[in-house]
Symmetry: C2
Subunit: 272 residues, 2 copies
């Protein structure tokens, strides 16, 4: 996810979030004060004070021996609340369950978050497949992978270009995706109405996805399947796309701002 470091009239907060990101992205065994100081380019004392305040609040945990910091339990609690709250996950859960049960495939709900696509929920099918985004909470730049691509493709053209401009560097990290290739994929997605990956990003693992759109805002999420590419057939694609479209059609009215008072008070998650 993009590491904004905005001067937002709250320097201390900017620094705290930066440190959380560094801990999140750092060594799996936890980060030492020294490493964090260096990476964040902060003074030892300052860094120490922030880290310990975060630990105090449960946002970070310190080892028993107190020499390494890692993400804390409060983040787990807040994260679970963020996912379950009102919004996409709750709204789409029945659809996700149905799709997974009827198809037996791994089914994914992705949401847009600024320039990224985050996995909000996932139901595993009969096969355990490696997906691009991994489990819940995993993310990819908008454009990478079918769930993500289906959102990018259906954004307003100007916004799409802005996102692409910002995302190119990160997209370049995927050897399977050149600029031309992605352009072609976007065009295909628009004309077909769904995004398809035949197994090029994660070898052997294919995916289909359909965007969930809100009138003014554009796509806010996507619903899709992850499938062993060996099993992929055009008949299957057709059938699955139809199933996804049906579910999306029954979800979208709940997200349309005009209908808000008429439908449930659900709101969408993942908007800036």
């Amino acid at each position: 996810m993009t590491n904004h470091t905005p001067k937002s009239g709250a320097q201390l907060l900017d620094r705290a979030v930066l440190l959380l990101d560094l801990v999140a992205g750092g060594s799996r065994e936890g980060m030492t004060l020294k490493a964090l100081c260096e990476q964040a380019e902060l003074n030892k004392a300052t860094c120490h004070r922030i880290l310990n305040s975060l630990a105090e609040h449960g946002m970070l945990d310190k080892d028993p021996d107190g020499r390494r910091y890692r993400l804390g339990t409060k983040l787990l609690v807040l994260g679970a609340k963020a996912a379950n709250g009102p919004g996409l996950r709750s709204l789409c859960q029945p659809a996700l369950t149905r799709l997974c049960q009827e198809s037996g495939e791994t089914t994914m709900l992705m949401a847009r978050d600024r320039d990224d696509s985050v996995c909000i929920d996932r139901h595993d099918g009969s096969f355990l497949l490696q997906t691009l985004t991994g489990s819940i909470g995993g993310y990819v730049p908008l454009g990478v992978g079918p769930g993500s691509l289906s959102m990018l493709a259906f954004m307003a053209a100007d916004e799409r270009e802005e996102v692409l401009e910002r995302n190119w560097p990160r997209i370049a990290a995927y050897p399977a995706l050149t600029r031309d290739k992605l352009r072609r994929l976007i065009d295909e997605t628009i004309s077909q109405g769904y995004a398809l990956d035949r197994g090029e990003l994660v070898p052997g693992v294919a995916g289909i996805a359909v965007p969930i759109r809100v009138a003014e805002t554009g796509p806010v999420a996507s619903l899709g399947f992850t499938i062993l590419s060996a099993r992929l057939s055009s008949e299957m694609i057709e059938r699955y796309v139809q199933a996804l479209r049906d579910e999306v059609a029954s979800i979208e009215p709940h997200l349309n701002p005009l209908d808000r008072r008429l439908t449930s008070p659900e709101r969408i998650l993942g908007q800036s």
Copy 2:
């Protein structure tokens, strides 16, 4: 979870975390600036600045119309990382899967976090049962419910009393638990070696749990089943306790500080 408001040399952070907690605990439709100002007893402008900085960083999301704040996608991402990282969840995942598959029961992994017990992972069995802690991320004060109780009971006596002292007010919120009752439950748990709830906290829903302990620190987690109390039998209890103990026995060596270099570099999650 206890709302520490420690003057930790980082006022701004204290305030930011307080606001996150208020948003997390507040109305499911999101919190307005006004409401948050009042509850946090902060100046409107100050509050506004902090909330927007948090939103800027993705820790909060603002509605499309920008009048309500709710938990942001970044919390979901960080929360997932906190859960998956090295530590209890990964370490216990195989055990959890085995226990659930072999018994068909809802299986829970709880971790200690200060004075609380947090649900770190959960595998649903054949029945969908309402549990005390709900899903992942849910928490209860130490002492409430078998998973939580099994940890409290096996803490060092002095520490246990300190925790109890702090927790009484919150425990009082559970009508099924009087002081005497909890004292009795703790004694029972110690003598039996496992915690049992026959369905008194959530009517009709029983639970068994066994603590996961680390040599110096004491219990850091617990593994347990949630069962329809109607189906509970003493034979079943015996069998399930044995299954839990077997798994715990194979987990504990990985957590023992002495063995750390010998075993995997897994560390525990949820220590203060």
